[in-house]
Every structure is written in structure tokens, then in C-alpha cells.
Amino acid sequence: MSVVLLDTKSHVRLRLQPWQVKLFLSELAFTRKRRATKGMTVLSEPACLITVSGSGGRKQLYQLYDRTVLFEPKSNQARPFYFGIMLMEWLLAAQPRLPPQKPFNPVP
């Protein structure tokens, strides 16, 4: 079983370590038991794409929205997934540290 995360901003790919996969799969199994919502109404884009590859080459694709919502495009089901905060932290830690850009300075 392998789990690969893809950052949609930087296209950085992260293959999770076995201990991370174990944590992720247990959280995923817990989440999948919960009732799902059909589709999503919010105008949001995924920050992370998750590919879970099982035995026999079977793949499950998920999209992580706003760190906390897991969406399965195949079944059009969305579920709360707070473990996504941890996934995004791992993904951030796996990327090269970029130099700071400008300070936040909107037009008054």
C-alpha cells in the first residue's frame, strides 16, 4: 500500500513513509464510516491531490480542500477530514524553503 501526495501549487510529490501511511489509512477508514455529503457548493480548488495505491494496482484518488475536507471525485462525496491539516504540514515540510516574498500590502 502506498500513498502519494501532490501539492497543486508547487507540484511537489511526497510519498508517505510506512508509519505515515499507517496513520493516514486508519484516519481514512474512520472517516469513510461517516456519512458523506454529495458534491460541494463552495467555489474552492483542492490544495492537495492524494493517490492511494492498493494491491493489484488499484488506485483511489482523493482531493483535499482547505486542509479539512476530503473529496472523492469518483463517488462525488465530501467528508470532514481534519487529518488533512497534518498532511499539509508534511507536504510543506517536504518542500524546499522558498525565500520570503513581499509583505502583505493591499491597497487601502
Binding site: M40, S44, P106
Partner: protein, 258 residues
């Protein structure tokens, strides 16, 4: 279809949900990695276009009160297609002043406002991402722009930053997509060119559009039962558009902007 008002053009654009391929052009997006992962629902598009076409200006003179509103609506297949659509509009559209024997037909309007309505997050909106923003800015800069251009990135959180790390609860030092586009306009390839370009990003989870006059944002968003909680981004807030002031967007200007 919209109308040119006093030589200025207002354009509302959205990614075509049926699109599968981009027009060839200078904006390179290999594998369509920048194209939105989620497409707009056709029913939402129909509703929003009806609102946008009926929208009137907020305080600006509109000589066409009895017809459609001034906004031109474009569905695009990719950023190259969007630029092509804008080029065609700027080339073909005309406006008239005077009546009867004194009527004069004018050509060559300028782009005053562009609103891109799409699914978005702080780093992606309607095909504009870190990868495509430079090429898009170059192509946009080649168009005939007004002295005071407004670009609205109308999706969720386009004017907010992501968190640096949830653990220390600080905003990221990386710019959001509205800031990135604003930094490059105007004059990305021609440093002597200057005009005022303001790129507006939303201040939270967005619904409605600026063009339709029904824009609103919320800091965090819940939907469904049990609720899916969409967490807030840095610098986000609740706001609602009113006829005189749209606080659902915050503007950014680059170093070359007037």
C-alpha cells in the same frame, strides 16, 4: 452581449466546463496542470449569467438602461483562449455618440474591467497559477488597456494568504495569486509602460460575483450534514457587496502601477 460605454469595456469570463483542450498560444500549461480541477455547474453558470447580463453600473452612466447590462460574457477553454476572446472583442466592438445626423461610430475600445469567475484557492484561479501568471500577464499587457484597469479574481480566498504553518498560526510569506498577478502588471515586458492596474482578490469563501452585484464572502464555510468545515485562511473576513463599495475584494497594485 454587453455594450461599450464611453470607450470602455467590462468583461466577465469563466472557464468553460465542457472544455477539454486549450487553444495553442504563448501561455504554456503542460498537462493542463493549471486548469481548474473542479468545473462550474451549468445551472450555476446560467443563473450567474442572467444576473450579470441584467446588472447595471454602480453610479457610472449607462446609456443603455433599457437593454442588457454593459458586461460582455466570455466562456474560455484556457488562458490562450481568454486572451484570444479579449482580442476579438477589442478589435470588433464599437460605440456611438450623438444622434441622427450627428451620430458618430467610434472604434477601438479599451479594457476597463476583467472579472474571472472560477473555483479558486489562494494559489489558483481560473487557470492562473504560479506557473502561468507570468505568461498571462505578458499577454494581458499587450492588449489595449484603460488608464485604470481593474481585474477581479472571483473565487474563494484569492486575496488571502495560506498559513505558514498551522502550529505557529502565522500567515505564509508567499504571495497569493492576486498579489502575484498585481506584481507583474502593467509593463511586465515594457518597464516604461505605466497605468493603474488593480488586481482584486476575495477576502474569504466567495459566493456571487462582483459583476452581478451580489458578491459576499465568509471567513469559514460549512456545508452538508454532518458539516464539512472549510477552515479560514490568513487575512480572511466576512463581507458583503453594497452598491457603492465592494468590501468582498481587496486590491493589490504592483511597483509599476500608477
Amino acid at each position: 452581449m454587453g455594450h461599450v460605454v464611453n470607450g470602455s469595456m467590462w468583461v466577465f469570463a469563466y472557464p468553460d466546463p465542457t472544455s477539454r483542450r486549450d487553444r495553442k498560444g504563448p501561455i504554456n500549461d503542460p498537462g493542463r496542470q493549471s486548469w481548474p480541477f473542479r468545473q462550474l455547474d451549468q445551472s450555476d453558470i446560467d443563473d450567474q449569467i442572467t444576473i450579470v447580463k441584467g446588472a447595471k453600473f454602480n453610479g457610472d452612466p449607462n446609456p443603455y438602461q433599457d437593454k442588457d447590462g454593459p458586461w460582455y460574457v466570455i466562456a474560455y477553454d484556457g488562458l490562450n483562449d481568454l486572451i484570444f476572446g479579449l482580442q476579438i472583442l477589442l478589435r470588433d466592438e464599437t460605440w456611438a455618440t450623438g444622434t441622427g445626423a450627428n451620430a458618430v461610430i467610434h472604434h477601438d475600445p479599451v479594457l476597463r474591467t476583467l472579472e474571472i469567475w472560477s473555483h479558486a484557492n489562494p494559489y489558483r484561479c481560473g487557470g492562473i497559477t504560479v506557473d502561468t501568471v507570468q505568461a498571462f500577464a505578458i499577454e494581458l499587457d499587450k492588449l489595449r488597456l484603460s488608464d485604470n484597469v481593474d481585474i477581479f479574481l472571483s473565487g474563494c480566498n484569492t486575496g488571502c494568504r495560506d498559513w505558514a504553518s498551522v502550529a505557529n498560526n502565522q500567515a505564509s510569506d508567499q504571495e497569493c495569486i492576486a498579489e502575484l498577478l498585481a506584481d507583474k502588471l502593467p509593463g511586465v515586458n515594457h518597464p516604461n509602460k505605466t497605468c493603474r492596474v488593480t488586481v482584486h482578490g476575495t477576502v474569504g469563501y466567495h459566493s456571487g460575483t462582483h459583476a452581478g452585484g451580489d458578491s459576499s464572502t465568509v471567513q469559514s464555510y460549512s456545508e452538508g450534514n454532518p458539516p464539512n468545515y472549510h477552515a479560514p485562511y490568513a487575512y480572511s473576513g466576512n463581507a458583503k457587496q453594497d452598491p457603492n463599495n465592494d468590501l468582498t475584494f481587496r486590491g493589490f497594485r504592483g511597483p509599476n502601477s500608477a
